[in-house]
Amino acid sequence: MHIFIFGLVNSVILALFASGFALVYGVSRLANFAHGALYILVGFSTWLFLNRVGINYIGSIVLSILIVSLIGGAIYRFLLIRVKGMPDSEIIASLSIGIAIMELFRWRGFISETYMLPPFVKGSVNLLGVMIDWQRLLIIGVGLAIMASLWVFTHHTKVGLSLRAIAQDKHASMMSGIEPDRTAVIALAMGSALAGISAVVILPLGNITVETGYMVLINAIAVCIVGGLGSWAGVFAGALLLGFSQILATALLGPHWQMVVVLLFIIITLIIKPSGLLGRQKELEERV
């Protein structure tokens, strides 16, 4: 029971990590390796607004999510747009932007003290014999709410439909007047906002550190690769698979193995079926 509940929480956390990454990749085929950096950017800026500027908690959260989505959009509009269509350059460029942001925080001394965001709801509850704090339950709630609203957004609003159109058939949607670059900017802004939302719900569980950024990035990539890049059902499947195996590995082998499991999943999936569990097979693009 313990494993089941914490596995579920962990799966939702992973799905939240991956949602922004998957949204960006699904729409613009752009692997945004700055995702982890945007995640901790929200954490630190919320902390700054809360403790240095003195805005209240909700206000600082909203403000930093807005800022980070602007930054995400700007990164695409002014930088990544130039290397569009060259996957290697995209990855190198976005990864180095991400590293630059993360190491900037390290330089500003964000490692000396512990930085923590207060949980929304304090205390814990006994659920089926397992003590679980409210924040973790809140994460499940927020995760499900985000997934639901993303579904509504991409199926019932004009912008969301245009995002899906670009993802399905770029040329046909360009013919019907959808601007691919503008949708990509929107996708990146939304992806960053998703990173931000997941940051503010998940970060209260522990400290904010620079290493969290790298960890989030690797986990997001792992979920997307295992589930299949550019498939929403795949994100769920990948998150569940990885979430439970991480918890199992921690319970049976020890905390060190958590990351090993993730990396092993990435490598094995790529070797056996590069398009992932539920991704559309593109045999010739992937392997010879």
Partner: protein
Amino acid sequence: MDSATQERRKERIDRGIKVRTEGIYAISSWQGITYMALPTVAFVVGLLILPLVVPTMAWQRIIVIACLFALLALVFDFLTNFVGIVCLGGAFFTGVGGYISGLLNSAWGIPIIFTIPIATLGGAIICTLFLLPCLPMRGIYFAIVSLMYPLLFARVIQALNIFGGTDGLPGLSTFPNIWVELYLVLPIIILLTFGIRRLVNEDFGIVLRAIRDNDQAVKASNINITWFKTKAVLLGSAIGCFAGAYLAHLYGWMGLSLFALDFSIFPIAATVVGGGGTLVGPVIGAFILAPLSEMLRAFGPLRVVFYSLILAGLVIFSTEGLVPYLERKYHQFERWIEV
């Protein structure tokens, strides 16, 4: 025709001497021979006398490290631009090479002259075996797997607490003095730079470049592309493992930092700075970037920020690299002509 820019444009013309020295007649005049040999001689002599002109021993140490990074950059350039495998596994090679050499040295006390060659060959075979299942994969998929291997190995070593675990193993034997360190690796760089350049123009290299351009076509010609890629990766990982083993003995210490991401990222940066596809370019790029990063060390973590911003800038604004630029200036002259 109102603005000046529309009326004129820049024209590039090969220098006369370049055309005259293309064939066998180059040796008919001293001028021709000089023109032809100058870049090569400048590169070789420049590398060999570099340790003599730098002021302090600390700088000589930096040159040794730059040499090892140059080897990794050379491997990256060879695999990316001549075989079409984007291999971000520089850290994988250095880690495996360093650990093999370090373990042999610390467990059985085997001297350096044997550990480095054993690590080079054994490491190359191990790395190739691990990369073998991924070889059919293309582009970005291979890049991600090769980037993940060093992370995985470092985590496994940490989790199992083998080979010294998180702390690593100190007290490996080191080189007798700085001159041995320097003049053991410098000739190897020169040899490998020109050796690989020769190799990619041989029949073997032509097949490799064909695989890069169109692997389906090569496969259709009844050539086993995986086997050719395997040989290329074996060569690349041998060089990388040599660099790792050398590094372990240079510091007299082996640890998880041999798997650090720097060894994967630095070769890319060096290749971008020096110009990809030239083989000499990445070596020169490494000799520019390694001292630069040492000078920036005073800034602490900010160094990495500078570093990644420079890399992002160079990639985003897609520069051609130093060596192609110099090559153009050397072989061609430019003039404005009326349109």
